[in-house]
Amino acid sequence: MEFVGGKLLQVGIAIAAFAAVIGLIMLLVDRAPKSTRDKVTVIGFLAPAAILMIVGLVYPAVQTSYLAFTDAKGTPNGVDNFVWMFTQPEAVITLRNTVIWTVLVPLLSTVFGLAYAVFIDKARGERILKALVFMPMAISFVGAGVIWKLVYDFRGAGIEQTGVLNALRVAVGMDPKQFLLDAPENTIFLIIVMVWIQTGFAMVILSAAIKGVPVELVEAARLDGANPWQQFRNVTIPGIRGSLVVVLTTITIATLKVFDIVRTMTAGNFETSVVANEMYTQAFRADEPGRGAALALVLFLLVLPIVVYNARVLRQQREIR
């Protein structure tokens, strides 16, 4: 186990170096003269995170925005990459798939999550029932890929099926199906994997939000003669509106960036590619960094409205306080 020791040592050195840097910052902040102390504090506390984010996120984003207007050799070529994106059949399919993903995943995950949260609220064994649906959140996309490949597994007709779904199809007299190969519905089967992962997130947030709706309101509605559906529709839903928005936006952003599922299950073949995957393919596999960057930029623009909306909500909350 020699190699374990070496690795432990590396980890130890890294943590010690980090602690030394933080300690130094704290010392400097404490020793700063009174007149400038506030300023030094702001700089000292903010600088490490700020420098890292500028170097690792802001600068790359700016560079990518520039790259989007260059060709494979790095010479500016105007909007050619965007023309390519909206005219080439494969690229258009990629965009179409991304739209399907971003509509279906947030919607289905939220509906399933909310329904499940309501159904199991106060039920016996609520914690275990929750854990079952929540569990996929802890599983990596790669692991989920292995799990779902087994579910979708295909063997030729007449051979014993190893995948649950095809076994069911054969049992009811249908032919086995190539779930991941047959376009266009194979995109739906990939989307199911993402919904499987994200529903737990929606369920946990919405479940807690439902429990946060004051008892008195629900009780009052009940005494007023509202039936369970009306109670749900008129009391619970408005009470959890904030959480619903958060769940929808968070899942939408995660979906726009989805990469691993497509990568590990079909690698974007068979008309299943999405923007985030195509970006990787163009930039790292096809030696077309310009096109990859253009796709990244489009992705960024797609998410922008969501961020603007959230930023406005943030500001409003500040004004309330």
Binding site: V11, A123, L129, V133, V146, V213, I253, V313
Partner: protein, 322 residues
């Protein structure tokens, strides 16, 4: 419309209550126990059980498969995992082969497990410390452009990782001359990508700490560093715990960052990368894939279930406010 006034009330309650109180007390205090809505009908129970089953069966199937002998998984005598309950053939050999067998062809997962651990622990620590420092200043510091900067950090969450990878890789290898095949690149990259969400989550929590507490400390002569380490951090433990779990899961389960920055050597590559390698190629060792997948899943799953409570609280701190 008898329920309309109630709706307005609900809105007021949502906006008016400070979140810490709602998120935490609602779960803990028996006073808040709700009246049973009558929605829990037989139909609802059945629907819930069906959803639970659909959500569990895929994982369960792989779990069973991982204990089946090779011949039952692939090849002419193979059949579906559910047959295991009839033929009763179970074996631990897959797990032993996946983790401990020697040779470059074998998955060798124990080595990659150590890599994953060596990557995830420092990153989690770095993000927690740096993000809480920044979040404290954003919440309680006093400088111009504070709000604008915070919203900018929030917006950074959406920069697609793919956008940042090439420039960052160039920076690491060409400017900073960081050695390939060491953990350093992975540590720094993961820390950077974890900061925006970390700052956002912790800020939501830290800004809810009552101002009087901090003011009192300041009157007593405490400086920023003392307030930060002695008051802010201890009070933020629930949020820190949830961010730690987030960060742990995120880094442990990552594939993209690992692909770009690990150089693919067994010295530093995490277990997800190895799993993607062995499950991505068809070969004589396909029967090890289910066991390998489970080895990679088991640690995050354990962490997750052990610390679930904190995870949910942190989500809510970020959730209801943002």
């Amino acid at each position: 419309m008898t329920a309309t006034p109630a709706r307005d009330e609900a809105d007021k309650a949502l906006v008016g209550l400070p979140l810490g109180e709602k998120g935490i007390h609602a779960a803990d205090e028996p006073i808040m126990r709700r009246v049973k809505t009558k929605l829990t009908s037989p139909f609802a129970t059945a629907a819930a059980l069906i959803i639970a089953a659909i959500w569990t069966v895929p994982t369960f199937g792989l779990f069973v498969q991982s204990f089946r002998p090779a011949a039952k998984q692939v090849g002419p005598r193979s059949d579906g995992w559910w047959n295991a309950f009839f033929d009763g053939q179970f074996t631990f050999k897959n797990y032993v082969d996946a983790t401990a067998a020697a040779g470059s062809q074998s998955p060798n997962l124990s080595q990659y497990l150590i890599n994953s651990t060596a990557i995830v622990i420092p990153v989690t620590l770095f993000v927690l410390v740096l993000a809480s420092m920044a979040a404290y200043i954003f919440a309680w510091g006093n400088f111009r452009g504070r709000h604008a900067m915070f919203i900018f950090v929030f917006a950074l969450q959406i920069v697609p990782l793919q956008m940042a990878l090439i420039p960052l890789l160039q920076l690491f290898t060409q400017v900073l001359q960081l050695p390939a095949g060491s953990y350093t690149q992975l540590w720094i990259a993961h820390t950077i990508f974890g900061l925006p969400l970390g700052i956002f989550l912790l800020h939501n929590f830290i800004s809810e700490i009552p101002g009087e507490v901090i003011e009192a400390a300041r009157v007593d002569g405490a400086g920023h560093t003392t307030i930060f380490w002695r008051i802010i951090l201890p009070l933020s433990v629930p949020a820190l715990a949830s961010l730690a779990i987030f960060q742990f899961l995120w880094v442990w389960n990552d594939l993209l960052v690992a692909l770009v920055f690990s150089g693919g050597t067994p010295d530093v590559a995490p277990i997800t990368q190895r799993l993607a390698e062995i499950s991505g190629t068809r070969g004589a060792r396909d029967y090890l894939n289910p066991a390998a997948a489970f080895v990679s899943i088991i640690i995050p799953l354990g962490v997750f279930f052990a610390l679930q409570r904190y995870f949910v609280r942190g989500l809510l701190a970020g959730g209801l406010k943002g």
